[in-house]
Symmetry: C2
Subunit: 133 residues, 2 copies
DNA sequence: ACAAGTACTTACCCCAAAGTATGTATCATG
DNA sequence: CATGATACATACTTTGGGGTAAGTACTTGT
């Protein structure tokens, strides 16, 4: 503790959290809003920049390219540009990117269970459940 | 596409992402810096507020309580307060909270592999496995 | 009477992520 | 020669998560 407050405590805390918490480490890499979505679409197969844009209409170009760059830096996707007349750029997952699939799947399973309410009133055996809405 | 810009596009995008992406759904619940860490500590057993504080020295009280409240609202932890002289409040995981452990574990495994560099140039060499949810 | 401990609450600030908008390079086509 | 398509880049603004600091309510110990 003490947290001397030199500057940018938030960044310092990030390092700490990342160092001691593998979950935070993962979050740093796929924690953006769009990252998992991009990953999801790329998991289904290689895609061009414009294909991703079409697949995720709500994302802005800035966000798309920004996250793609980050994913590339984090070694999760590979960018392949062909020096042709109209640019032709393809993105695909790396081994690390594919390695995230069990994580994604575990998340998805939990999410579906939680949405279905499979966890509600099960196993807690003695829950007053004071949900204040 | 048009994105009429009525108000707070970021929140609107969140809903969209959450609705179509289970991963984002999970992120919304355990995506804070401290959430996974708190969850991790609670996974090891029930803890009092002060015990959590001691277990995670770098966290501020505001963040701790704030995240605990959110986790409670999201039905991941249960708060039990005993109306005794010095307050005695215990936090423990719900069934849903415990249900996250496979997710956490999958993340941790990936993180360790990634940190070790197991994905670098190794390639899973035979990963078709395109899960389409 | 006052400090100390527990479990919070609240007001205020800062920064980085997310969003908006516009510009760039290249060539093909009308 | 202006428009459209592709794949970006970049300046600027907003928003909300996270951080700092201080206060509250209650009681026990000295």
């Amino acid at each position: 503790m003490a947290a001397v407050k030199e500057q940018s405590t938030i960044q310092a805390n990030k390092r700490i959290a990342q160092a001691e918490c593998p979950v935070t480490y993962v979050m740093e890499k796929i924690g953006g809003y769009w990252k998992p979505i991009i990953l999801y679409h790329l998991a289904a197969g290689d895609k061009r920049y414009s294909e991703l844009k079409k697949a995720i209409p709500a994302i802005t170009e800035k966000m798309l390219i920004q996250h793609l760059k980050q994913l590339e830096q984090d070694n999760l996707v590979i960018r392949e540009a062909r020096p042709v007349v109209p640019p032709y750029v393809t993105y695909r997952l790396t081994a690390a990117g594919h390695g995230l699939q069990p994580v994604i799947r575990a998340m998805a399973e939990w999410a579906f269970k939680d949405i279905k309410g499979s966890f509600k009133e099960k196993a807690t055996r003695k829950s007053k459940a004071a949900i204040a809405a």
